[in-house]
């Protein structure tokens, strides 16, 4: 009878759960299918490293350790779950029957059983303690924890569920002990094997109370699991379901690679409706644990812009739910024409759409959100996909971008300065070009900033000096150089990007360029990551100047006389550190130049963006406070006299920052190349 009840409740709950999970799967499949199992080994490694290994969690140590307790505790308890349920099925008057000991032997005899009992003890009391700490943290330490600014009823409910689960399970085991249920009553053994927690709990129970409470404990635990399980698909706890598939099925490429656009066959570009997202982007939304690690590192968010990466992901999910019925109808009718979405994905005024324009345009694509996310969500490609729709399908972008696009189209640079003035910086200098010096080995790609921006031209000059001193066989493209289109791509104008990339690749091919040095991380990134999607057959070996110069210094081709001992702090460019993993070369160079390198708090792959990426260099900053002020202030606080940068955008933003907050007399901003050129 008991068994029948257990099995029927189990059956109904599982059926419900399966149905809800299937609903989630159907919603995900409304997206454009792009799941693949290529690089299977890599995918399995990802699951191992990020999920089992909880790799990203410890970046926030306090919460991270707590989560590991919950997670590993959860895994251990799952092992015991089968035993628990079966023990409810095979029930007799002597008590709940089933135990693993039937198969493996008693703990006294079997090492595995001993380990098992130890693991259960650790899990139950460890997780119980973690629940207590978690609630304490949420209620009393909120002011110290930026991610907990808002109380989350969902989170507290989950902690309550878990706490109930632990109490009830502990209760069952304690009652077993008190009532002497066969093997379960065994509390022999040394410290941990003797189950001290259980014994403590058991001491609080009399035989009668244990008898009365037993069904409450057992059914309490069982029903809580069933309820919790069915609550799961509707709460942030569904990250349990989504995390592993997310790491396993996602597009390869560390989350910062943008989605390709098909201009040949499709008529809609970018994402203006939720079903135009890739399915893996939709899967991301179901892996989100709403932990807000992304929110607190977002430079836009921390300076008061409406952008919140977690909200973007959440709003995508909301929009999917809101349009679920219409979209499923549309699919079942053959996917003809356009579906009628009741709630827009993107909109202007508050009620017009789930996501507001300002959120999309505030993004600097710095990738901090992607870097922090423990469940592998890639926020940036989604934002760019939505920008693509805004720019290419609706022509609805911040007005200052119109001139940027036009400038790139007409004059191959975002400032729109005359293309035939691009090589003016070389007037009077004897710079080898691909025309005058066709036997070059390295192409020094000067870039738009290095050619046109007065401040960045000094970086170019410094770089030329260093290259010449080290006797490097290099050349520049000269008048024929054109913008690589990176900005257009980040702003969503993929069409323009493909055109510009095509032009530059043609130029590279014409002059047989295969090795490139660049002083700009954005150029570096686009050559490395974006260009292979435009022309997969075109191979380019790209060096950032800090890497290249570091090699030169190490090999002795460049000698530095560095005795300055000057205090210098280094600002990690997002596109250098996070996107391309280059963190050490600049620091090595600074040390070789004799500087006393001091670090900012937010450094390396936690670096705080200067604010110029994602095309924001070209946009006005109307909302909130200025991103570059925040970063400049951080630099000031290190006490350094110079901020070293490795990117012309960072140079501009931090340089402007020092002027705008009035510290430009005390704090210089220099590129690594300039610092080296002074000390060579």
């Amino acid at each position: 009878m008991h068994g029948i009840a257990v099995v029927s409740v189990l059956g109904i709950s599982l059926a419900l759960f399966a149905r809800n999970c299937w609903r989630l799967v159907r919603m995900i499949r409304l997206g454009v299918d792009d799941f693949s199992l290529s690089h299977l080994g890599g995918r399995i490694k990802d699951v191992g490293y990020y999920v089992i290994g909880q790799a990203k969690l410890l970046r926030d140590p306090g919460a991270g350790i707590l989560h590991m307790a919950f997670f590993y505790g959860f895994l251990l308890i799952q092992i015991g779950l089968l035993e628990f349920v079966l023990s409810g099925v095979w029930f007799d008057e002597q008590g709940y029957g089933f135990s693993y000991a039937w198969l493996l032997g008693t703990p006294a005899d079997s090492l595995i059983m001993k380990a098992y009992w130890i693991s259960q003890e650790l899990a139950i009391y460890g997780v119980g303690l973690a629940c207590f700490i978690a609630i304490f943290r949420r209620w009393f330490l909120r002011s110290f924890l930026p991610r907990l600014k808002k109380r989350s009823a969902d989170a507290e409910l989950i902690i309550l569920f878990i706490a109930i689960l632990m109490v009830t399970l502990g209760g069952v085991q304690a009652a077993d002990v008190v009532m002497g249920h066969g093997v379960f009553s065994d509390t022999q053994g040394d410290w941990l094997f003797g189950r001290p927690g259980t014994r403590l709990f058991a001491a609080a129970l009399t035989v009668d109370s244990a008898q009365t409470l037993y069904p409450f404990f057992w059914w309490g635990h069982f029903l809580t699991i069933m309820i919790f399980m069915n609550y799961l698909p509707f709460s942030k706890h569904m990250h349990l379901l989504g995390a592993v598939p997310n790491f396993f099925l996602r597009r390869r490429g560390e989350g910062l690679i943008l989605n390709p656009v098909d201009f040949e066959t499709s008529e809609e570009f970018g994402v203006g409706r939720v079903n135009l997202f890739n399915a893996s982007d939709l899967l991301d939304t179901f892996a989100c644990a709403e932990c807000n690690r992304c929110t607190v590192v977002c430079p836009a968010n921390t300076t008061g812009k409406p952008l919140d990466p977690a909200k973007i992901v959440h709003d995508m999910k909301d929009n999917l739910y809101a349009n679920e019925v219409n979209l499923l109808d549309w699919v079942s009718q053959g996917s003809e024409g356009e579906p009628n979405c009741e709630v827009n994905l993107i909109g202007g005024a508050d009620s017009e759409g789930s996501i507001h324009f300002d959120e999309l345009w505030s993004c600097t694509t710095c990738g901090a959100c992607v870097q922090e996310c423990p469940v592998g969500i890639s926020h940036v490609p989604k934002i760019v996909d939505m920008r693509r729709h805004m720019v290419m399908m609706e022509g609805n972008n911040p007005p200052e971008l119109d001139q940027v696009f036009r400038g790139m189209e007409t004059n191959a640079n975002p400032w729109g300065l005359g293309a035939n003035t691009r090589f003016d910086w070389a007037d009077g200098l004897d710079i080898p070009t691909v025309e005058t010096h066709p036997d070059f080995e390295y192409l020094y790609y000067v870039g738009c900033a290095g050619s046109f921006d007065d401040r960045a031209k000094k970086i170019t000059a410094a770089m030329i000096k260093l290259l010449q001193m080290a006797d490097i066989n290099f050349a520049v493209l000269g008048k024929g150089e054109s913008c690589n289109g990176e900005t257009a791509r980040r702003l969503g104008n993929e069409y323009l990007f493909v055109e510009m990339a095509g032009t530059l690749i043609e130029t590279f091919k014409r002059y047989r360029v295969d090795k490139v040095i660049t002083t700009c991380p954005h150029c570096l990134n686009t050559f490395n990551k974006d260009y292979p999607t435009v022309d997969p057959e075109f191979q380019l070996e790209v060096h950032h100047h800090t890497d290249f110069l570091n090699q030169l210094v190490r090999s002795g081709a460049l000698e530095l006389d560095g005795e300055s001992g000057e205090k210098i702090t280094y600002h990690d460019s997002c596109y250098l550190a996070r996107y391309n993993g280059i963190e050490d070369s600049p620091r090595d160079l600074l040390e070789a130049a004799g500087a006393d390198v001091v670090e900012m708090t937010r450094n390396r792959d936690r670096g705080f963006c200067c604010g110029a990426g994602g095309g924001r260099m070209w946009m006005e900053e109307h909302l909130g406070t200025r991103v570059n002020h925040s970063r400049t202030q951080e630099a000031v606080e290190t006490g350094a006299s110079t901020v070293a940068v490795a990117c012309p955008f960072c140079m501009t933003m931090i340089g402007d920052g020092t002027r705008e907050i009035g510290v430009d007399d005390n704090l210089n901003v220099k590129d690594i190349a300039e610092l080296l050129a002074d000390r060579v």
Partner: protein
């Protein structure tokens, strides 16, 4: 309503213009070509006048195939039809006006909107000449255009302020800089533009052309200024202006 918008193909106004070695043209390398900015404003204004309603905007260029990208761009902005008038003659106002006049006869538009000047020649004659040729009213240097029925009211930039004039269609309007901000064509419109009607006719079909009586004999760079000096402070500046440049006394 039918609107004709003649567009000129000019150098991008950001390009550096230098005279070539022979002194008969400018250095063309690396100089991007675009729709004359004032004509682009004219296309935009025509679009705003029609505002998606009934009507046709015909963009016209004179010369040869080289202006095709500019015509296509105007089509992508929203113009309905393009006309390319082929001619070998050197494009001067005296040559352009008769061709446009003949086209207007053929097409019978209600309005001609064009830029006040093209930024290469800076002549600023064609709109007025065309109006005279057709015996039509004109409103030049427009910064604001309103049309109600058959009456057009135009705000014009004048010396020392602005002036408002009105006329009944048909007429000619020439655009000034601040009339509007031309839209950037969206990608789907660029694709659609490839299929819009595009007529190519020769100048003979419009009555032929005769050469302009004005000829460019030679071109030269502008006179160089002497290099300047940096002064240290206001007192030094005053001293220079008083004693050296003698502009203050």
């Amino acid at each position: 309503m039918k609107i004709i918008v003649p567009i000129a193909r000019t150098e991008d106004y950001n390009a550096r213009i230098v005279v070539n070695k022979d002194g008969d043209d400018i250095e063309r390398g690396g100089v991007a070509m675009v729709i004359n900015p004032f004509d682009e404003i004219a296309v935009e204004e025509a679009l705003r006048i029609l505002d998606g309603g009934d009507g046709e905007i015909i963009v016209v260029s004179i010369g040869g195939d080289e202006a095709a990208p500019e015509l296509r761009r105007a089509l992508a902005m929203g113009a309905h039809r393009a006309v390319q008038i082929n001619t070998e003659a050197k494009l001067m106002p005296e040559v352009i006006t008769p061709l446009l006049g003949a086209l207007v006869e053929r097409e019978q538009p209600d309005l001609v909107v064009m830029g006040k000047q093209s930024i290469d020649g800076d002549s600023g004659q064609v709109a007025q000449r065309l109006a005279q040729r057709l015996n039509w009213p004109q409103a030049t240097f427009a910064y604001e255009v309103k049309i109600e029925g058959k009456t057009v009211t135009v705000g014009c930039e004048m010396d020392g302020g602005t002036e408002t004039v009105a006329f009944d269609l048909p007429g000619v309007i020439s655009t000034d800089l601040r009339l509007n901000e031309p839209r950037l064509p969206k990608l789907p419109d660029i694709m659609k533009a490839k299929k819009k009607p595009y007529d190519v006719i020769s100048d003979d079909e419009l009555g032929g052309v005769a050469e302009s009586p004005i000829k460019v004999l030679s071109m030269a760079p502008p006179p160089e200024r002497q290099a300047g000096q940096i002064v240290a402070d206001v007192d030094a500046l005053i001293a220079k202006l008083r004693d050296e440049a003698k502009v203050l006394a």
